[in-house]
């Protein structure tokens, strides 16, 4: 049976931030990663940036982004479902992240030019999240952190809020570790379809999991079962509409579709069901996962025409093209008569207006339900193009309640003596609803460092 000062469960952004911090504080650290080396890094390997507060421009961030602006943005998406104390502390701590990340090999895109790199609120990783994970794993190796891949944690033995032993499995062989302290950073349960079915029924079978298949929620469930306090609505998840042709797991960024505001979206019968032009896309994209999940067989189709094709980012999958609506319906597997009727009614309902993809313009429909309130233009220039859509689940909100030292709280509000949590597994403390880009990585980095620091402190006495 092995032992160590700090055992980190899960090797994504939060886990590595914790492991590196604890090791640099002098603790012996072991990191267990469920995935094989090639897929290490959890959902962090699919990320692109993190949201940082900063007072003045940096090499990677333009302008300034104050603590209060950041707080306001968070408040607007969570509708108050957030722990203000933890949230404000997290926001303030993001100001210290860039130098720490740089020192451990992180590289960012310079704020020069290009579609992604120039940002006031978010710093973009050069090469994306996997490059960041590579840098952190290299740093961890250099520091002498013991890393075990393909190693799943099955359970933690919790006695009076103290972790006594951690049971693991590697290639079917069981083992256990007796660490002085434990940091759990093993994510949510969004890849556990059976668990999702408890809330979503059989519809969950048709969900596409955008990130890692290893986020099974085993550690989360195990700790909740032993009296750890939960946080976040267990029935809720963040889901967007993704290309139905995406892989079941790990499709990441390239399966996202930004075409909805410039399309009509129909179900299998060819009927529209929601206002595609309700608001600017970054504000509304997250509702479409749920909308598609409510469609028969959890599939929908975005349909537009040649004049709109270049208004949105391309998907990794080429659109399905056809010279007529009937032909497109046939290729997509949509009821042709239904779609032709919908299209005719929609085109007739479009009122003249001045089209502008950048603002809430005045191109709208009249006399149809549901209406399309912006960017409504007749779909009449062949080739017509279509994309099949599925609900793509990004993460779940259910997590472990923690205090400002990242200590896991038990149901009686008592903090655990040696159990800490960081990353998606506790993000629900701060992000109880909604999403803003780069907040997950910010929470992971801040709480990873806190958990690593505190765990090392406890372990080293």
């Amino acid at each position: 049976m092995e032992s160590c000062d700090v055992l980190v469960v899960g090797g994504g952004n939060a886990g590595l931030s914790a492991a590196i911090t604890a090791r640099e504080a002098g603790a012996s650290v072991m990191l267990l990663e469920h995935a094989p080396r090639a897929f290490r890094g959890g959902n962090s390997r699919h990320t692109r940036n993190l949201r940082l507060m900063h007072q003045s421009p940096t090499a990677t961030l333009t302008g300034s982004y104050s603590s209060s602006d950041y707080w306001r943005d968070l408040l607007s998406v969570t509708h108050g479902k957030t722990d203000e104390h933890l949230a404000r502390m997290t926001i303030d701590s993001t100001a210290e992240l860039l130098p720490w990340m740089h020192a451990h090999g992180a590289r960012f895109q310079p704020a020069l030019e290009g579609t992604l790199s120039l940002s006031r609120t978010n710093a973009f990783f050069l090469g994306g999240g996997k490059a960041l994970m590579n840098a952190y794993y290299s740093a961890a190796k250099r520091l002498g952190i013991s890393i075990a891949y393909d190693t799943e944690v099955r359970s933690l033995c919790l006695v009076n809020g103290v972790v006594r032993e951690v049971s693991t499995a590697k290639n079917g062989a069981s083992d256990s570790v007796r660490p002085k302290t434990v940091v759990v950073s093993s994510g949510g349960f969004q890849a556990n379809i059976d668990w999702l079915r408890e809330y979503w029924g059989d519809a969950a079978r048709n969900f596409i999991v955008r990130g890692t298949p290893y986020a099974q929620g085993v550690v989360l469930k195990n700790l909740l079962d032993q009296g750890a306090a939960p946080v976040g609505d267990p029935t809720q998840c963040h889901a967007v509409a993704v290309d139905a042709r995406a892989p079941k797991f790990d499709g990441g960024i390239v399966s996202r579709l930004d075409c909805i505001p410039f399309s009509i979206v129909v179900d299998r019968a060819g009927r529209r069901f929601y206002d595609e032009g309700e608001d600017i896309w970054p504000k509304r994209y997250a509702i479409w996962g749920r909308l598609v999940a409510q469609c028969p067989e959890q599939i929908a189709y975005a349909i537009t025409d040649a004049k709109s094709e270049k208004l949105f980012m391309p998907s990794a999958f080429p659109p399905i093209r056809a010279e007529s609506i009937g032909e497109l319906a046939q290729k997509l597997g949509v009821d042709a008569a239904g779609l032709e009727t919908t299209m005719r009614n929609f085109n007739q309902a479009v009122r003249p207006g001045k089209f502008d993809s950048g603002v809430l313009d005045d191109c709208r429909t009249e006399g149809i339900a549901p209406p399309k309130t912006h960017w409504a233009r007749p779909i009449d220039v062949p080739p017509f193009i279509g994309y099949p859509l599925r609900p793509g689940i990004t993460f779940t909100y259910l997590g472990l309640k923690v205090n400002q030292n990242a200590r896991v709280l038990m149901q009686d509000e008592r903090p655990s003596a040696n159990l800490f949590a960081a990353g998606e597994i506790m993000a629900g403390n701060i992000l109880g609803e909604g999403y803003i880009a780069g907040i997950g990585m910010a929470i992971g980095a801040v709480f990873g460092r806190i958990a690593g620091r505190e765990a090392a402190k406890v372990a080293l006495g």
Partner: protein
Amino acid sequence: MLSAEIEERSRRFVEICNACRYCEGYCAVFPAIELRRQFTSGDLSYLANLCHDCRGCYYSCQYAPPHEFALNLPKAFADVRLETYELCAWPRPLAALFRRNGLAASVLALLCVVLFVWLAKPSSPSAVQQSAGAFYAVIPEGVMIAITGATFLFAVLSLAIGAIRFWRDTNSPSAFDAPSFLAAFSDVFTLRNLGGGGDGCNNKDETFSQSRRYFHHALFYGFLFCFASTCTAAIYEHIFGWISPYPFFSVPVLLGTLGGIAMLIGIAGLVQIKLTADSAPASKLLLDVDYSFLVLLFVAGATGLLLLAMRSTAAMGALLAVHLGVIVSLFLMLPYCKFVHGIYRAAALLRYAAEHPRRAKNLAAATEGVPLDPLR
């Protein structure tokens, strides 16, 4: 036209890259992809030749094998490059040499060496060595100039036709301005895009290293020094009438010596990197082409240095014949070996600079002594 399988694979990969864009900051390839929605065969050739094979994108790719997308841009682009070299080769039948590159270079070098050994006068070198005209006593001046001159001009002509074909086949713009030219020139001489993120290439694994850049610089600048040495010698001989061999402390000999040593160091380093590199993002077919060019250059440099070291001994005549034979074979091989990568890469960089005027300017400004990131 690229072969269907290779073209389709690289198109599929590039479409995924265009939806992802995480690698945007690594090099010129990704901004060039972002300008497009659909990728013709010519576009793919252009992008493949813009790629410097630093492999940064491969190791940072969330879709690299064993992911089901199996995205491997460096390998796919290497396969496209090899086909580009063949498609642009002139005369066309000689394109076949790319598929038997090591064999072709060896046989050609051997034939040329035999030719020069046969041409060499069996005079007594000890009597003439070191004095002016010693080399011509071994190989008559007219013969030497005729053969080296003719083969060199053939190489220049063939390379020029290749460059025009590349420009035309990739539908590159018909005009470019001076700033574009300067930006491309600076890209070539600094290898800015080789590990454009600033930390260098990935050779063995996820870790970065500048070694490939430094060894390539040694080889590239060494080659230019050797070329400058030859040009200076030609000027000495034909304008000033100073007949070779020249003393060690003369411009041609110093340039040639420095250049030759730099080349040997650069080649040894590059070969070592290739031998120990991760083979997953490499194209096996192109690797043969890489090695044969490096070995041919190494032999050219080594025989040149050996000739210099031993020119006052009885071996001078034989060494001169061997060196000239190797040089002539190198000239003949230039349009059918890895040397062409420099031509097409430079052309692709010129097109890139022309298509991205603002970026070219920003990058030039950003690298003028100002670190890209003050936090570093």
